[in-house]
């Protein structure tokens, strides 16, 4: 029963993918779209079923399909593990997934390759499910690389544009850097514990004492690098903003809600491992905090609506990693969920805007859309409030918990995080104001076409907005359903409801205040003074640095890409030629010898006989006089 259902859960999207690949074109756009959506919906339904089941039984479901890879000291089998964590992930992956599929039906309708789009989306869901429900690290790795592939395919969906292709390639390769880290981690774990299976691993680690901490730390660090790649943390975050080259639904699904949370998922999965490596945890916390701040600062000045959202995603992921680093896994998970809701909503909202403006993404050319696009605006507003951490919206609860945890552990981190969230509030409302308030700044031609998006687009927005509003309920500060639900996963007792005292309230107040300040500044700037960000050319000073993302891309390009290319050039021009000339050289030398030798053979009998006699003398001398 479980097995077959699991397979249904897993394969439904895959079947959708196959069908769309082979027959998508023939059955027509809407049909392929609906098909794609339905398959994902099926998975969603199944996950709901499993959710019901597990919330009663509290029993994780283990499924072994077949042996996969045989290693000397262990074998990896193709199996699945459905426990609290994976099912939770399944819920919002498939749930939001189906919403976004639905959304895309309308959004992508004008695209000639719509069936391909849905095929890829389905494939992505398939791989994401694999990633989540895999029972061991290697199955996770399948999904891990698979989603990377899908993001590559979807970023480069409009493959006639080489810039998009570059972005896609960049995303894939940066992910691969992380993947190498992940692999190394897997190797070390494999050789240390002779298993990659979560269950066995957990017992192996938690059960035994006197483990080699150094190696565990190395493994944890390697895994963390992998997480950095997927979840766009410093130093591997630069691909995510570029990934916005893909269609907006993709950005919403892959680059905001689901795939980028894979890193958090993996770390949460292996929390018992990371608990043993405090140094690595610190690194994670710091990296997370810094990332959130850096990304937020960049987001302050971006003018491309999707770029702002992208950086805000990076920043939010940073916060999650902060939580992870502080060992507050359930908090991180909580934020993952709420973030999935409001960020998906925001992206889809921006998508709806872009859709209305026929692909215009520059906020400087927007404004005043509030009037025409009521629903979009409203949902957008809610999500913005949520992300800014304004009660009672979901973001408030999750972010607040992160801040609290940070405060407990380390004030500096807390300050950084608070700053980041303040900025978040600012740039989100900057975005909101620039887009929806004041007068429309686009061309008259665009103005004439302005319209609210069709219901297929607005419906998901509404649903997500609702979720973004009430999402916080799953883990209220006082009694957290989520924590209890996730409790079995964690080795250490989770930070259960820290006794709620004045400090906590104070912190809450500070956080909310920070959010309000951010909003206030934005209001002052963009409503009161009605400022519009200046053209790229006029940007100066630190703003310019921010606007150019601290020139990180350029630096990376200079350090890595260029050096590899010049190395390749060197190898090609010098090393290769030298090596081959060495080999050829031998032949040439012998040939030359032959050529010279011809001169000795000059045809004169005298010389021949002379050589003859010389030979005789030499031999006789050697034989008789030399002895």
């Amino acid at each position: 029963m479980d097995t077959s259902l699991t397979l249904l859960l897993l394969l439904a999207p895959f079947i959708g993918f196959l069908f769309n690949v082979f027959f998508g074109k023939s059955i027509g756009k809407s049909a392929s779209g609906i098909l794609g959506t339905l398959t994902v919906a099926t998975s969603f339904a199944t996950s709901v079923y499993f959710f019901m089941q597990i919330s009663q039984t509290h029993q994780a479901i283990q499924i072994q399909l077949f042996d996969w890879i045989q290693i000397s000291n262990f074998k990896v089998d193709f199996g699945f593990l459905l426990d609290q964590l994976s099912i939770l992930w399944l819920l919002f992956v498939t749930g939001i997934g189906s919403l976004i599929h639905l959304y895309s039906i309308s959004y992508m309708h004008d695209d000639e390759n719509m069936h391909k789009f849905f095929a890829y989306l389905n494939l992505f869901i398939f791989f994401m499910i694999t990633l989540v429900i895999g029972s061991n690290l290697l199955v996770l790795f399948i999904g891990w690389e698979g989603v990377g592939l899908c993001s590559y395919l979807l970023i480069g969906f409009w493959h006639k544009n080489q810039d998009f292709n570059d972005a896609a390639k960049k995303a894939f390769i940066m992910n691969r850097i992380g993947d190498l880290g992940l692999l190394i981690g897997i190797f070390i774990i494999g050789s240390m514990f002779s298993t990659l299976d979560y269950a066995t691993l957990k017992t192996a680690i938690t059960g035994t004492t006197n483990l080699n901490i150094t190696w565990i730390s190395i493994a944890a660090f390697a895994l963390f690098i992998g997480a950095c790649g997927k979840s766009a943390q410093i130093p591997l975050y630069t691909w995510l903003p570029d990934a916005m080259a893909g269609p907006t639904p993709v950005s919403a699904l892959i680059h905001a809600a689901t795939m980028v949370t894979a890193g958090i998922f993996m770390i949460t999965r292996l929390n018992y491992l990371f608990d043993l490596a405090p140094d690595v945890q610190n690194i994670i916390a710091i990296v997370g905090a810094v990332t959130s701040l850096v990304a937020a600062t960049i987001a302050l000045v971006q003018t491309d609506i999707k770029k702002v959202l992208a950086y805000s995603t990076v920043s939010q992921l940073g916060l999650m990693f902060l939580a992870l680093g502080l060992g507050a896994y359930e908090v991180a998970v909580f934020h993952v969920i709420t973030h999935a809701f409001f960020k998906a909503c925001l992206f889809l909202g921006s998508g709806s805007v872009i859709h209305a403006l026929h692909g215009e993404q520059d906020m400087r050319k927007m404004g005043g859309l509030k009037k025409v696009m009521g629903i979009t605006f409203f949902t957008f507003l809610i999500s913005s409030l949520a992300i800014s951490g304004i009660p009672p919206f979901s973001g408030f609860f999750s972010k607040d918990e992160i801040l609290m945890v940070a405060f407990e552990h380390n004030k500096v981190l807390w300050i950084i995080a608070s700053l980041a969230s303040l900025m978040t509030a600012f740039y989100m409302f900057r975005l909101l104001y620039l887009t929806f308030f004041n007068e429309f700044r686009g061309t008259a031609e665009q103005k004439s076409h302005l319209h609210e998006s069709p219901s297929l687009i607005t419906f998901p927005l509404i649903v997500l907005a609702i979720l973004a509003t009430i999402g916080g309920l799953i883990s209220l500060p006082t009694n957290s359903w989520l924590n209890e639900y996730l409790a079995p996963l964690f080795a250490k007792a989770s930070h259960e409801a820290h006794h709620f005292g004045t400090t906590e309230y104070a912190l809450m107040a500070v956080a909310v205040l920070g959010g309000l300040i951010g909003i206030g500044i934005a209001y002052a700037k963009y409503i009161k003074q009605n400022i519009v960000p200046e053209e790229d050319s006029q940007i100066t000073g630190f703003a310019k640095v921010l606007y150019n993302k601290y020139y990180v891309d350029e630096i990376y390009d200079a350090i890595f890409v260029q050096s590899i290319n010049s190395l390749s050039k060197f190898f090609n021009q010098y090393v290769e030629t030298t090596l081959s000339s060495l080999v050829f050289g031998l032949g040439k030398v012998t040939n030359e010898l032959g050529f010279q030798g011809k001169k000795i053979q000059n045809g004169s009998i005298g010389r021949y006989l002379f050589a003859f006699v010389l030979g005789i003398c030499a031999i006789i001398t050697y034989l008789f006089l030399a002895q």
Partner: protein, 457 residues
């Protein structure tokens, strides 16, 4: 013995045919005769015997090699049919000379007495002088003849001197007595000197460095068929005789003598191969390749106790490949004034069969598997390593690599270049000879034991 007599008789018969104006019949009859002789020889194989108080001693060794010589002669005579068709008046002479040459050759491998050895070598040489210079009007041929003659008779002088010294030391020409004495008695210094001189003379005959200079010139100048004869029959005879001489006359070879052999063998291979690289004339190229093969053959002298079979195998492989190659050359260069590589361009298209045969022959010489050449080299290396001369083997290996260079130059010419002339006529005899030769070669490659075990000690 009967073999020898029969051969001589056959030679005389050829001359008689001339008198009775039966030229047409000469080639077929001679071939038949030689086949008969081959049978005779085979019958003697298992009946070793000494004749005329040890003037001639028929052994397994001698009759095996005689068999090889006879087969080679058959091929050469057969080729002669086509080769001499435009000078019919002389054909009988040429055939007769070849047959007598064969007689000399047989005498050389079955001598029991230095006198016999000397006569044999002279019969062979003189016959070769004539053949080399046989196309009277071509200056090239004359020059070749003279060069060969001068140096050849010089070499004979050396050999004679050597024999004389041996005689002086031993007081007899009988090799068996000599070998006995060489083991027992306290020897005067002349004896080893004599041996050395005779050996040197033989080195000249097999064209080993530094006594090789005549070979390229003579090969190039002499008529193609004669070149074929020299590079196959003559060389094989010489090395066989030298081997026999060394084995029979002084059982254990002195340290120094081994060094000399090693050095000469190395030098021969290296010089031969390197010189061959830049040759444009195919006959000349094969002359140099012959020199390098002489170097390989000399390696057998380092393990005199058990190398007879190896030598027989190597020589057969080499000679058969040579015959095949030369028959193709004869076909290609029939009407061309020289034998340059350019004549072979596009043979792969115009005449795939012959091209394939030549390729096979060259591959065999280069020592590529399934062709006899490979096993010849392999077995040779095995024995030489057994004898403990691994350095020599390494040099030999390096040389085989070099040799590929020029063998493949010819192959490339045949397959990649465009044909520059269309050849007409399909001379059956040449085809037959070439095919038979190469088939024999491959057969030897498939079943080396056939020959290897013949003289297994």
């Amino acid at each position: 013995m009967n073999t020898l007599i029969a051969i001589i008789g056959l030679g005389v018969l050829c001359l008689l045919f001339e008198i009775f104006e039966l030229r047409k019949a000469i080639v077929p009859v001679t071939i038949l005769g030689l086949l008969a002789v081959l049978g005779l020889d085979a019958s003697e194989f298992n009946a070793p015997e000494a004749y005329y108080n040890n003037m001639i001693i028929v052994t397994k060794f001698s009759s095996a090699f005689s068999g090889l010589f006879i087969i080679l002669t058959i091929f050469l005579v057969a080729l002669g049919h086509k080769f001499y068709e435009n000078q019919p008046s002389k054909i009988s002479d040429f055939i007769a000379i070849k047959v007598f040459l064969l007689a000399g050759a047989v005498a050389m491998v079955s001598f029991g007495n230095l006198a016999m050895f000397f006569l044999g070598i002279e019969v062979l040489s003189i016959a070769l002088y004539i053949l080399a210079a046989s196309s009277r009007l071509s200056l090239k041929s004359n020059e070749a003849g003279l060069k060969y003659f001068l140096m050849g008779s010089f070499a004979s002088g050396i050999i004679l001197f050597g024999i004389c010294l041996i005689y002086g030391a031993m007081g007899t020409f009988d090799v068996t007595e000599i070998s006995e004495m060489s083991r027992s008695a306290e020897l005067p210094v002349w004896f080893p000197i004599g041996i050395a001189l005779v050996t040197i003379g033989m080195f000249f005959k097999i064209a080993a460095v530094p006594f090789h200079f005549w070979a390229p010139d003579v090969y190039e100048g002499a008529p193609a068929l004669t070149t074929a004869l020299m590079s196959t029959l003559a060389k094989v005879v010489a090395i066989a005789t030298l081997y026999k001489l060394i084995t029979v006359m002084n059982a254990e070879i002195s340290e120094g003598f081994q060094h000399v052999i090693v050095i000469i063998s190395m030098a021969s291979m290296t010089v031969g191969n390197i010189m061959a690289l830049r040759q444009v004339n195919v006959k000349r190229m094969l002359a140099f390749s012959g020199i390098s093969h002489a170097g390989f053959m000399i390696m057998t002298l380092l393990s005199t106790t058990n190398a007879a079979g190896t030598l027989l195998y190597y020589t057969s492989a080499y000679a058969l490949a040579g015959i095949a190659a030369f028959s193709v050359i004869l076909y290609v260069c029939k009407n061309t004034e020289n034998e340059d590589v350019t004549n072979f361009h596009g043979l792969g298209k115009t005449n795939p069969l012959l091209a394939a045969i030549l390729t096979a022959a060259l591959l065999s010489m280069a020592g590529i598997p399934i062709f006899a050449g490979f096993f010849a080299k392999m077995v040779l290396f095995t024995q030489t390593i057994q004898a403990g001369f691994i350095a020599l083997v390494i040099v030999a290996v390096i040389n085989s690599i070099i040799s590929v260079g020029y063998y493949f130059k010819l192959i490339l010419a045949m397959y990649t270049k465009e044909p520059n002339e269309t050849r007409t006529g399909t001379p059956v005899v040449i085809y037959a000879v070439a095919v038979v030769a190469i088939v024999l070669n491959i057969a030897l490659g498939m079943f080396p034991s056939l020959v290897l075990d013949l003289l297994a000690s």
